[in-house]
């Protein structure tokens, strides 16, 4: 007889209900949607079983705020009626974790399912006792079962099942069903949380990405500004050096009247020191472009023999100052090379300038020959030579070899060879050296011949 008035859920139906719930909640990934679906489908499935369930509420723990927060509420007439009446809107019906008398908090902390027939147990706080009792009478709820929502041993919140029958009419099988539902809900909440965390992370990543892009653009602008500044600064540095160079050479070349031999010596020194400054500025300009990845080449057909003559003429003064012989070895008819004339000029100036700097007697011989498709230019000096262990350091940045024969007593930034290597390699050539300690060093670089 009992069966008629209080139908018990048939085990096959309960399994089906459980399966449906699982499918619904696992098919959905959006957190807000999942939590709503959970309470609705739990109620629907329970409703089919006609067990007198009216309101399902999902409450989740918010550890940052240390509260239990009502997340979703089943969409039933009783729930709607309740919402229309309560003094506090549903999303704000938070329970402080300090409210240890509240059954939701207690259930959350102990992980033990519990129930009440007295609504202030679950509604106070936030509601006053009288209000809670008034609401309970209004919607006609007799019992509310409170179950912990657990995933991987961690309590995420609680689920409240409210029904129109007294707790004495709740069967063991029903409790098992609610318990099973709650487990599924735990997994679903966990998944949805993970997913929304992932989504939030993705969003945060996208924002970070966007910020990086903006920072990158700003950096590029800064880089451009820096480049413009370096260009302008080097212009300003080279301007007075040009006038010094022009004035000194005009005097030395005899266009400004007679100059004594002694005065000429000083003027020659001033001239070659000024030239050294110009080379330094040029190297700094190049370094700044190499470092910002902005070293560009203006490739044309370059007459190497003419370029060699130009540079040798240019540096004659510096060689003369140290009483060194600077000559071009007899050249065959040289083919043109594919190169950036100004850049190759700088390489030649660097190599010959170095040779002058590190040679104390004898001289420097510049030469060139064709080998296969390359023109190989060489700068040979009669300096002290470079020990093999120092040779590999030469082309590194700031690497003026500091021990042995190439000692730091000679000035310079140690940038020249590094820049030369970058330039020659950028022009599809190679740069290398042979050296014998005590006899001298020869630097070579190759450049592609115009076909």
């Amino acid at each position: 007889m009992k069966f008629f008035f209080q139908p018990e859920p048939h085990s096959q139906d309960t399994i089906k209900a459980l399966w449906k719930l699982e499918k619904i909640v696992l098919d959905t990934l959006n957190f807000d949607e999942v939590v709503q679906r959970i309470v609705d489908s739990v109620l629907v499935e329970l409703g089919y079983l006609n067990l007198g369930y009216r309101i399902i509420v999902l409450i989740l723990h918010n550890p940052e705020l240390s509260i239990l927060k009502r997340i979703s509420l089943s969409q039933t007439p009783e729930a709607a009626q309740l919402l229309a009446t309560t003094k506090i809107p549903f999303p704000q019906m938070d329970i402080s974790m300090n409210a240890s008398n509240n059954l939701c908090v207690r259930c959350f902390n102990t992980q033990i399912p519990t129930y009440t027939e007295y609504w202030p147990d679950i509604l106070t706080p936030p509601f006053a006792k009288e209000d809670a009792l008034y609401y309970q009478r209004l919607v006609g709820i007799k019992t509310s079962m409170v179950y912990p929502v657990i995933a991987k041993g961690k309590t995420l919140g609680v689920l409240i099942f409210s029904m129109t029958k007294p707790v004495s009419k709740v069967t063991d099988e029903e409790r098992d069903l609610i318990s099973s539902f709650t487990s599924v809900v735990g997994i679903a909440v966990q998944n949805a949380k993970l997913y929304s965390d992932l989504e939030n992370t993705t969003k945060a990543l996208n924002i970070a990405n966007e910020n990086l892009k903006i920072a990158n653009i700003k950096l590029q602008e800064l880089d451009k500004l820096k480049d413009e500044f370096v260009s302008l600064a080097s212009h300003e540095l080279r301007a007075p050096m040009t006038v010094i160079k022009g004035s000194l050479s005009t005097i030395l070349d005899g266009y400004a009247g007679e100059t004594s031999k002694e005065a000429k010596e000083f003027l020659t020194a001033a001239y070659s020191e000024n030239d050294r400054l110009i080379r330094l500025v040029n190297n700094l300009l190049n370094i700044s472009r190499i470092e910002s990845g902005r070293l560009k080449f203006l490739v044309t057909n370059v007459d190497m023999s003419k370029l060699m003559k130009d540079v040798v003429t240019n540096l004659q003064m510096a060689a003369k100052e140290k009483s060194l012989r600077l000559i071009i070895d007899k050249l065959d008819q040289l083919p043109f090379v594919l190169a950036d004339e100004d850049k190759v000029r700088e390489v030649l100036i660097n190599l010959i300038g170095n040779a002058i700097k590190f040679t104390h007697q004898g001289g420097i011989t510049v030469s060139a020959k064709v080998e296969k498709d390359m023109l190989i230019t060489s700068v040979a000096d009669t300096g002290n030579g470079i020990a093999p262990e120092d040779q590999e350091l030469l082309f590194k940045k700031f690497s003026q070899v500091s021990r042995g024969t190439y000692s730091r007593q000679t000035g310079g930034t140690g940038l020249g060879l590094y820049i030369s290597k970058k330039i020659i390699e950028g022009l599809h050539g190679q740069i290398w050296l042979t050296s014998t300690v005590g006899k001298g060093t020869t630097f070579y670089f190759s450049l592609p011949v115009v076909k």
């Binding site: 480049d227 260009s231 080097s234 212009h235 080279r238 301007a239 050096m241 040009t242 006038v243 160079k245 022009g246 004035s247 050479s249 005009t250 070349d253 266009y255 400004a256 110009i278 500025v281 040029n282 472009r289 560009k296 080449f297 203006l298 130009d310 003429t313 240019n314 950036d340 100004d342 000029r345």
Partner: protein, 125 residues
């Protein structure tokens, strides 16, 4: 006598070249800014123009553009002569019709004058 026009705002540089070139038998004209340079180029029709870039009133690029569109100077050799000299600037000047781009500090006056002689039209050499 070949006429060389220096459009250059640094009077010291102009003095250096006018001293040397006039002793070598050239006539040296000069203008200390872009606008004046254009005017001298139009009225005096030099055989070769040495053109600075950073100048008051009108910069060298604008002057170059105008010189190349003028009937009188469209074929005149123009040596852009500046201490700027990033690849972009060199490429820009050459694209606009500069005969050559010379970085001032890199050449001594002797070398610069050799360049001028090299680019001077055969008829006046």
């Amino acid at each position: 006598m070949a006429k060389i026009l220096f459009i250059e705002d640094d009077p010291l540089l102009v003095k250096i070249y006018s001293t040397r070139l006039s002793q070598d038998g050239f006539e040296v004209l000069s203008a200390e800014n872009g606008e004046a340079g254009l005017q001298v180029a139009e009225t005096q029709v030099p055989d070769l123009i040495v053109l600075d870039i950073m100048m008051p009133r009108l910069d060298g690029f604008s002057v170059l553009e105008k010189l190349r569109t003028s009937e009188k100077t469209k074929n005149t050799p123009i040596l852009v002569y500046s201490n700027l000299g990033q690849e972009d600037e060199i490429a820009r000047a050459k694209k606009m019709g500069a005969t050559d781009f010379i970085i001032k500090a890199n050449l001594s006056p002797t070398e610069m004058i050799a360049k001028i002689k090299e680019y001077l039209p055969k008829s006046v050499q």
